[in-house]
């Protein structure tokens, strides 16, 4: 066999507060794709960065063997590394908006590795930049090269970032969460582009938190946890026959991967009924919220009105979950905010139990509660958890004496230890914060909870726990959820009915099984096609869309 492109044996990286990578070994050959998969803090990104010597000046790196193309790099100086970076190894980070210099045209960014590693003159570099942009599927390369990152759409930006990474034909391409910041349909195109670039001479090292993303592309998968590889093997084998319990749990926690209605997290369902003795709400089946013909526009940066929501109508019935799915900017959140009266519609009407929302007294509006994507910002930073929940109970009319026992009940409902009561939200983990937010919403004894991307900021295992919690609460309390997400997997798992939104309008609305089994609208079909599927995705030929220039919407600029 030929010399491996990358050889790593017993790699250890430590920062001031302890080891992050704790003895990792792997090998990567040319023409191969290896994926490092793990949740945040697993050490996957740091591992990738050791291959270009960019773990930061406060880190300590050691390895039995760390070789690139047969050459040992353990003793590399900064000067040695600079010759490798950009020339032999290309590096692609997530979220090109933050990963490209926002003050320079993208053309100059792409030309930078050429300026550093080649003898091309300015004119030749400009020429090469245009070639590169064209080769990654960016239309009108001359125009795009002169634009700034903020003027490009997310997909084009990510392509430009990839172009700068491949400018010097590196033998190894490292992609750290290359599609995480992108909408599903765009992510598919970018993945296909990466697959095409891999070729026979280039090795690709992918880093991702999402097993389903790497399934499409990787030949081998290494699952990382707490700085160690817990399982490594061919993608097919790891996905279908996971051996380590952690891999199994990770796979089980992906909502779309198995039967709807099953629990995602390990462990038994808590006996909520016991906690809730005496407070069951008799759940009917009639509509709680009805919205008819909602319109909303906001002033854009140039002063003209931009339409955010156009003619949206929906009905939310008692004790059911209505999912709203769509990509960023599709008007999901604005719609939800209008249902809660946080935003006044330009036209149309919202009715709650048959009454117009505007005429509802303040106390009655409490029946509708809201859970935010970022729970931290929804808490007064000065307040402890006790005060956060206490305030909600007081607003709901609980006398002082009842609040303490009721607070403890609520904590038990959301499976939090009473020890958190003295903490401030800043001192809690992401999952704990979302649990406190749920407890606060429950304090108002709501009939409806609007959940706006409640799990998108969470690791997949925590996500699973929160989704299970929401399901349990719905069953015991008869709650209705309006569940907003960009993640079709999550939507499929939690929803009874689904609305698909695009550019401010509802393009499809039906029961979840119908929408997923027989999508009617072309956009819904595109969305569904973009879902990475663990079972089927592997080795599927790249979508045609990736080889072609991006579609018109994508190249529109803005």
């Amino acid at each position: 066999m030929t010399v491996p492109l990358v050889e790593v044996a017993d790699l250890r990286v430590a920062f001031a507060d302890g080891p992050v990578v704790d003895g990792i070994s792997f090998t990567l050959h040319r023409g191969q794709c290896l994926a490092l998969v793990g949740e945040s803090g697993s050490g996957k990104s740091v591992t990738a960065r050791t291959l270009i010597g960019l773990t930061g000046y406060r880190s300590r790196v050691s390895a039995d063997r760390l070789a690139f193309d047969g050459a040992d790099v353990t003793g590399f100086t900064e000067r040695n590394w600079r010759r490798v970076r950009g020339a032999q190894v290309g590096f692609i980070l997530q979220d090109a908006l933050a990963s490209l210099d926002s003050l320079r045209p993208v053309g100059r960014e792409i030309a930078e590795p050429l300026r550093l590693h080649t003898t091309l003159n300015r004119q030749q570099r400009d020429e090469k930049v245009r070639e590169l942009l064209a080769s990654v599927g960016v239309p009108e390369p001359e125009v795009r090269a002169r634009q700034y990152p903020h003027q490009l759409s997310g997909g084009l930006r990510q392509r430009a970032l990839i172009a700068s990474a491949i400018a010097c034909d590196p033998a190894l391409l490292i992609a750290d969460e290359p599609t995480t910041a992108l909408d599903a349909t765009v992510a598919v195109q970018v993945l296909a582009l990466l697959e095409r670039l891999k070729g026979s001479e280039t090795g690709l090292l992918m880093v991702s938190h999402d097993l389903s993303v790497v399934a499409r592309l990787a030949d081998r998968v290494a699952v990382l946890r707490a700085g160690r590889i817990v399982e490594e093997g061919p993608t097919e084998r790891v996905l279908h026959d996971p051996r380590h319990s952690y891999t199994k749990a990770l796979l089980a926690a992906v909502p779309v991967a198995h039967a709807k209605g099953a629990r995602l997290s390990a462990g038994p369902a808590p006996a909520l009924a016991a906690v809730l003795a005496g407070s069951p709400r008799t759940a009917g089946t009639g509509p709680v919220i009805e919205a008819r013909g909602l319109f909303k526009s906001f002033p854009g940066p140039d002063g003209d009105a931009r339409s955010a929501v156009t003619d949206v109508s929906l009905t939310l019935n008692q004790a059911e979950t209505l999912g709203i799915v769509g990509e960023s900017g599709s008007g999901k959140t604005t719609t939800a905010r209008m249902l809660l009266g946080l935003e006044n519609p330009d036209a149309g009407e919202v009715r709650v139990d048959g009454q117009p929302l505007a005429q509802l007294p303040r106390a009655a509006r409490r029946r509708l509660q809201f859970i935010y994507q970022d729970p931290l910002s929804s808490f007064d930073p000065r307040f402890t958890v006790r005060r956060v929940i206490g305030e909600a109970l007081r607003a709901a009319g609980h006398p002082r004496g009842e609040r303490r026992p009721r607070t403890l009940e609520l904590l038990e409902l959301v499976a939090l230890d009473p020890g958190v009561l003295r903490r401030r939200p800043l001192e809690l983990s992401g999952g704990q914060r979302q649990r406190v937010a749920i407890a606060r919403a429950l304090a108002a004894r709501p009939e409806v909870i609007v959940c706006d991307e409640p799990v998108s900021a969470l690791d997949v295992s925590v996500q699973a726990q929160i989704l299970d919690l929401l399901t349990d609460l719905q069953q015991s309390l008869g709650l209705a959820y309006l569940f907003i997400s960009h993640d079709l997997g999550v939507i499929y798992h939690v929803s009874d009915r689904v609305l698909v939104m695009k550019d401010g309008a509802v393009v499809e609305s039906n029961s979840v099984s119908e929408v997923f089994a027989h999508p009617q609208h072309k956009y819904t079909k595109a969305l569904l096609a973009a879902i990475p599927r663990l079972e089927t995705a592997h080795r599927r030929p790249a979508d045609q869309s990736a080889a072609q220039p991006a579609d018109n919407r994508e190249s529109a600029g803005v």
């Binding site: 462990g267 808490f379 704990q432 295992s461 925590v462 726990q465």
Partner: protein, 287 residues
């Protein structure tokens, strides 16, 4: 627990609670304590009357009888320095109180008021901010006359627009904060939300900044005295003492250097502690 049980590791707050004491902060605290004691009970510390002319003579170098020497009239410099602490502290606290009170009031009117009130207040603040603080203080003194209390008012007045702008900006942020909106969806009355969430969060950062501002006000007050617009001789006041000392700088540079050092160390100590307070309030630790 299962392998996937949510880990509550990486909880930043528990680390932030740990009190870190650095020598700089301890020294600053000690120095300020001494200044405060001197300001409260100067007679207790001062070896002599700050205005009494000693028979030992003028321009004495530091020695056993006069630890910091004597000035041009033969008065004990150390005693004058100790008595000088009170006017400095009154200047710092008084002027900052005026600045913060006026600034908070204006800032809240602008930040919580409607568009027209806000526009009016902010344009006024823009206009006043186009004049440097010291010049603004000088205008006030021109209009009101010189003297200690006028200088105090001038320094405080000149600080109002800056505080007002901070309070307004903060009120704006807080008013639109998600937690204010969340309080609304819980059915809490608007007035209660403003009182319980908006006001404390809008004003708190300014109070922290104001502690640093006290140092600035002490410096500004001393500057006015140095220019001959605040305290007048023979009062024991640091800025004025420095101004007099400048006239005799070729006789004895210490006469100017000692009050200069006192002002600087006071401002420095206040700033060091103020910054620490700010760091704590932002939940940060470290440097």
């Amino acid at each position: 627990m299962s392998a996937l049980a949510e880990t509550a590791a990486a909880v930043p707050g528990t680390v932030a609670r740990r009190v870190t004491l650095r020598p700089g902060r301890i020294l600053a605290g000690l120095f300020l304590t001494a200044i405060v004691v001197a300001a409260l009970v100067p007679a207790l510390l001062a070896p002599q009357d700050p205005l009494a002319i000693s028979t030992d003579g003028a321009f004495l170098h530091p020695g056993a009888a006069h630890l910091l020497g004597t000035d041009e009239s033969g008065r004990d410099t150390l005693s004058r320095m100790i008595y000088g602490a009170r006017p400095s502290l009154i200047m710092g606290l008084g002027a900052t109180a005026i600045g913060v009170a006026g600034g908070t009031l204006l800032g809240l009117i602008a930040g919580l008021g409607n568009r027209i009130t806000e526009g009016a207040v902010m344009r006024l603040i823009d206009v006043v901010l186009s004049v440097p603080e010291l010049l603004l203080a000088l205008v006030v003194i021109t209009l009101l006359g010189t003297g200690v209390s006028n200088a105090l008012f001038a320094v405080g007045f000149a600080a109002i627009p800056a505080y007002a702008r901070i309070v307004r900006a903060q009120a704006h942020i807080v008013r639109r904060a998600t937690y204010v909106e969340a309080a609304g969806t819980l059915g809490i009355r608007r007035v209660t939300v403003i009182w319980r969430h908006v006001l404390p969060n809008a004003v708190r950062p300014v109070l922290v900044l104001a502690t640093i501002g006290i140092g600035g006000a002490i410096g500004a007050g001393a500057s006015l005295s140095f220019l001959g617009l605040g305290a007048k001789p023979p009062a024991a006041e640091w800025g004025d003492m420095l101004s007099i000392g400048m006239q005799y700088i070729s006789n004895d540079w210490l006469l100017a250097a000692i009050p200069g050092a006192a002002v600087t160390l006071t401002v420095l100590s206040v700033t060091v502690l103020g910054r620490e307070l700010r760091r704590r309030s932002e939940g940060r630790t470290g440097r």
